[in-house]
């Protein structure tokens, strides 16, 4: 799977992915955050949450019940950026 697979929840089953920009192999450590499935206040949607660490992306990924990427809180160079769908 390439890094573009981030769109789908199956990305979170990977241990290595191919960097879609460089073609290199990137190790990823992704663990489900099972004890705090997120429920957004804005829309009460239930989201699956994963903790991710790699050379290129670090933070938290969120997926909806259909397994589609719904946002995340990601770090690059230590700076935090939140992606969120707003209903």
């Amino acid at each position: 799977m390439t890094t573009n697979g981030l769109w789908t929840e199956s990305f979170c089953n990977q241990e290595e992915v191919i960097d879609a920009v460089t073609g290199g192999v990137i190790g990823v450590v992704i663990d489900p955050i099972t004890n705090r499935r997120r429920r957004r206040k804005e829309n009460q949607r239930q989201l699956n949450s994963y903790d991710v660490v790699s050379a290129k992306i670090t933070g938290e990924l969120l997926y909806d019940s259909a397994g589609i990427w719904s946002g995340g809180i990601l770090q690059k160079s230590g700076q935090e950026i939140e992606y969120e769908q707003i209903q």
Partner: protein, 332 residues
């Protein structure tokens, strides 16, 4: 915090643009010049950030540096400085930048660090250098073309061989020249060695312009993998009694191994001399920050081992063996 409105985010055209922007942001763009990646002096002086000089874009050192900073940044105390990894062309440049306060830490080959610390070869004595952690082995790769003529390649003499080694900017050149000088003229004619980039070495062997290429790199390396794909390059063990005797009498070399399956079609462990990749700094670096950095990395060793193939055998609790004479960070 950035917040994307759903109407924009879900727009059939704009969503692709936004996702591309996200990819750009998080996966980075390779190849931007070292000068562009060096921080400004204001940033160096800003205690909110410390910089880790690594290697060329895409190199093992660059990837490992990004991993170290990411793992530290996600668990650091919010009031502690951020780690920022930057690209660098090689250990000599990293040392110069660190000793002139342009960067705070660097990932450098152990033999280059030791020579700089002791003031050997082209270095002045830099006894303010300190070792933070040993990271991974850098095993010499001896690469030939996998052909019938090479089925019994004789590695014990290079006198009749056309030999290429890594070029002068890379630290591997320093190590290989030193090793071949020790091996002496009965093993190799140093005047016939041609220096090239690893990618050019692989291509030159594929084109039958050279018989063998020697490199010192973190593994797996893209140039070797590309050569294996393009013309069936193969790694050969660089291990025979005379070489082993030189390594055993050396303070800067160990015998190392490239695990099987590191490269496509590599069915056996490859034995060869190796150096180590070290995380180094100077005695001027803030002790509290340095110790916090070391402790977070040690606490996350199991994650680090899964994030890059070169870190599979990572042991951050061992003392670096190739630089016993050097002081560790925190020893004044």
């Amino acid at each position: 915090m950035n917040r994307f409105n759903k109407n924009i985010f879900m727009h059939p055209r704009l969503s692709g643009v936004i996702f591309s922007a996200a990819l750009f942001l998080f996966y980075g763009v390779p190849g931007f010049a070292y000068a562009q990646s060096l921080p400004e002096q204001d940033e160096i002086n800003n205690s909110a950030v410390f910089t880790l000089a690594t290697g060329r874009p895409g190199s093992t050192h660059a990837q490992v540096g990004e991993i170290l900073c990411n793992v530290y940044n996600r668990q650091r105390d919010p009031n502690s400085p951020l780690c920022r990894s930057i690209y660098s062309p090689g250990g000599h440049q990293q040392l110069a930048d660190m000793l002139s306060n342009k960067v705070h830490m660097a990932i450098i080959q152990s033999d280059v660090v030791a020579a700089a610390y002791m003031g050997k070869k082209q270095f002045k004595t830099n006894d303010q250098l300190r070792v933070l952690l040993p990271l991974h082995d850098q095993v010499m790769a001896a690469v030939i073309k996998d052909s019938a003529a090479n089925s019994r390649f004789d590695i014990t003499s290079m006198l009749s061989k056309r030999v290429t080694i890594t070029d002068s900017i890379r630290d591997g050149r320093f190590t290989l020249r030193r090793l071949f000088a020790t091996m002496g003229p009965s093993y190799i004619n140093e005047n016939n060695i041609v220096e090239m980039t690893p990618a050019d070495q692989a291509q030159a062997i594929c084109d039958d312009r050279f018989d063998i290429g020697f490199m010192i790199l973190g593994h797996p390396n893209g140039a070797i993998q590309q050569g294996i794909h393009d013309c069936e390059l193969k790694l050969v063990p660089f291990d025979f009694p005379k070489l082993r005797a030189v390594v055993e009498s050396s303070r800067y070399l160990n015998m190392g191994k490239i695990p099987k399956d590191t490269y496509t079609g590599q069915m056996a462990i490859i034995s060869a001399p190796s150096v180590a990749a070290l995380l180094v700094t100077t005695d001027r670096f803030n002790h509290e920050t340095g110790l916090a950095f070391i402790n977070i990395l040690r606490d996350n060793q199991s994650i680090l081992r899964r994030l890059h193939r070169s870190l599979v055998d990572l042991d951050l609790n061992r003392r670096p063996t190739l630089v016993r004479h050097m002081k560790l960070f925190g020893q004044d």
